[in-house]
Symmetry: C2
Subunit: 358 residues, 2 copies
């Protein structure tokens, strides 16, 4: 019940233990096709360039930025937490010109500020975090996406924590590059980063003047392995991709809408219980993530000792605060297989006991 990895279904664990086959074996290539087709459904996109980067979510973030940016390009990054800050850091490492729109931690980015910023710079891309895991904010995307499109910029979205837990509509929202992680609401083990690029973004990467600074993440090569050519690039993490396939099957068997509803339902249950226990949420109700609940640490509880007690006595992990929220905020995950009524009840009962209320 931290910010991921979430619990994993036994079918996914079993898939992890599948005996190895080669990364160019026809059977494995068929698994890759399955994963691609299911990711298209989960991302709600027809983007042909939809696959999974062979490394965790941060590498997916880097994939999107290093492939679309060249030295000297402008990038407008929205920052209201750790992960927006990380995007800004990577933009600078690309030798690109960084412009920022900031919002206080715990609040969403104000589209009006994005609009204002776009009047003073003409960036190649606008980047924003959909589900800011460090603060618990769900960022509405449509308006910012429209502003980016109107300004002729690509729209880049971090969906690490949102994908599979709340609606993500790549085509409807005209997202040009998006990355996620497997260990959050998809409930597969950590280590892969699903990504998708729009035809517009593909055109940009095909027309680069310079080589992508990362060989490992260079989409112009990676796409030839995931595409029809099947050209060897690197050895894919075969077992993790087996597991992701199984996790995606589970997502689609449940159905996206039913899954989102389950995440909302358990979030409400947790919220009611936590508020009864005197916890206060960091984020205003309309911007709260259902899968990542950021609450101020309640009087009567000490941060590290209380988390340690939850872990040692109750076998429950919750997340500490990051950055300016360190020591002040807890992050309670209800992601994928960890979003159940039993998880909520177990945590609430443990907290009640620790507060001598139960």
């Amino acid at each position: 019940m931290g910010p991921g990895p979430s619990d994993v279904h036994p079918r996914v664990l079993q898939a992890m233990a599948t005996p190895l086959i080669g990364h160019l074996d026809p059977e494995f290539l068929a698994v890759m096709d399955d994963v691609k087709a299911m990711l298209q459904q989960v991302f709600r996109t027809k983007n042909d360039l939809t696959f999974t980067v062979s490394a965790p979510g941060s590498a997916g973030m880097e994939t999107c930025l290093v492939n679309l940016l060249e030295p000297g390009d402008g990038a407008l990054v929205c920052v209201n937490g750790v992960f927006g800050g990380r995007m800004a850091d990577i933009v600078e490492r690309c030798g690109a010109q960084l412009a920022r729109v900031d919002a206080p931690w715990g609040q969403p980015i104000d589209p009006a500020q994005v609009k204002a910023a776009l009047q003073t710079c003409a960036p190649k891309l606008v980047a924003v975090v959909h589900a800011e895991t460090s603060t618990g904010v769900l960022q509405p995307l449509e308006e910012i996406g429209r502003l980016a499109r109107d300004a002729g910029a690509l729209f880049v979205v971090d969906a690490v924590t949102s994908l599979g837990g709340t609606d993500v509509r790549v085509d409807d929202w005209e997202i040009d590059a998006i990355y996620s992680g497997t260990q959050k609401c998809l409930s597969a083990p950590p280590g892969l980063s699903p990504v998708s690029f729009s035809p517009r973004a593909v055109k940009v990467l095909e027309n680069r003047k310079t080589k992508v600074q990362s060989w490992f993440l260079d989409m112009n090569m990676v796409r030839n392995y995931w595409g029809a050519q099947r050209a060897y690039h690197h050895t894919a993490p075969v077992s993790s991709i087996f597991a992701l396939r199984e996790a995606l099957r589970l997502v689609l068997e449940e159905g996206l809408e039913a899954r989102f509803e389950r995440h909302r339902r358990n979030h409400k249950l947790l919220r009611n219980g936590l508020e009864e226990l005197g916890f206060e949420f960091v984020v205003a109700p309309q911007y709260r993530l259902p899968m990542l609940n950021a609450v101020k640490i309640r009087e009567g509880l000490e941060d590290a000792p209380a988390r340690r007690r939850l872990l040692n006595e109750y076998n429950i992990e919750i997340g500490a605060g990051l950055g300016e929220f360190a020591g002040k905020v807890w992050r309670i995950g209800l992601m994928g297989c960890s979003s159940t009524e039993n998880h909520v009840n177990a945590l609430l009962a443990a907290l009640r006991k620790m507060l001598s209320l139960g």
Copy 2:
């Protein structure tokens, strides 16, 4: 029996299926310490900065180069196959000045040429591939390492295919940065890259003037997660690290010397059998890798159809030739758990049948 992934022991598969725990859970931090200590033994090093990159071997290669090189630095790369060529490519993506020493595919690098090259350039590092997976060449390292050291350069080694299958002596050979993969002679699933940096290399990365161009691979941050600070950087691939721990335990239970001897023994068995069947090795006997046997495709066999028949009728995968060896050479792996007398016998019998000799 391709160039990896190799077969994996059931204990390792079972470890892959361990239920997930958090990447900052004290139990997982203890697993990381285990992995580090065992990697030090396998690398034969006391290097404190020894751990595993959260992505496959190519990302380990990139980790070593992007952390040690800054724009304008010189790098001398030895190229006698695909993987030396890949290092050269990455060096250029770092904005470094590339100098090359080349040898024909199938032959080792001649130290005399390295010596000559070092008289015309003063590189920050000299990089060489220990086991060139594309050609089957085992590169003697000691002399090149000494030349690099005498020239004041760091010595960077690709041990993707050699580690766990033939001797790799990081401290004795004064290697400053080394990377490997898990899916070859260590017989863990693909997806991780064990690396080790000498104190000399650590000093270089501590004294960089510019930021590392990759956020994900920036050792100045990654080391704070693997080190005492345990600072969150990215979500580690928990399951794969469980599996690597089990694979390393198996390596050390067998013992390094016994494991190397097993790889040599099965290589000889395969060599004798293949030569009896009329196959010719690409590499001269004294430079042959025991775990990756490159042979010219024998008359009477067609490349792709024969490999397809081996896969479909006998469930045996062997590797195609890469680059200039495509269509001409096969690469037969005897790595880790795939280096057994049974594997050798199964392949030889199948080939005999296909050649209508048995």
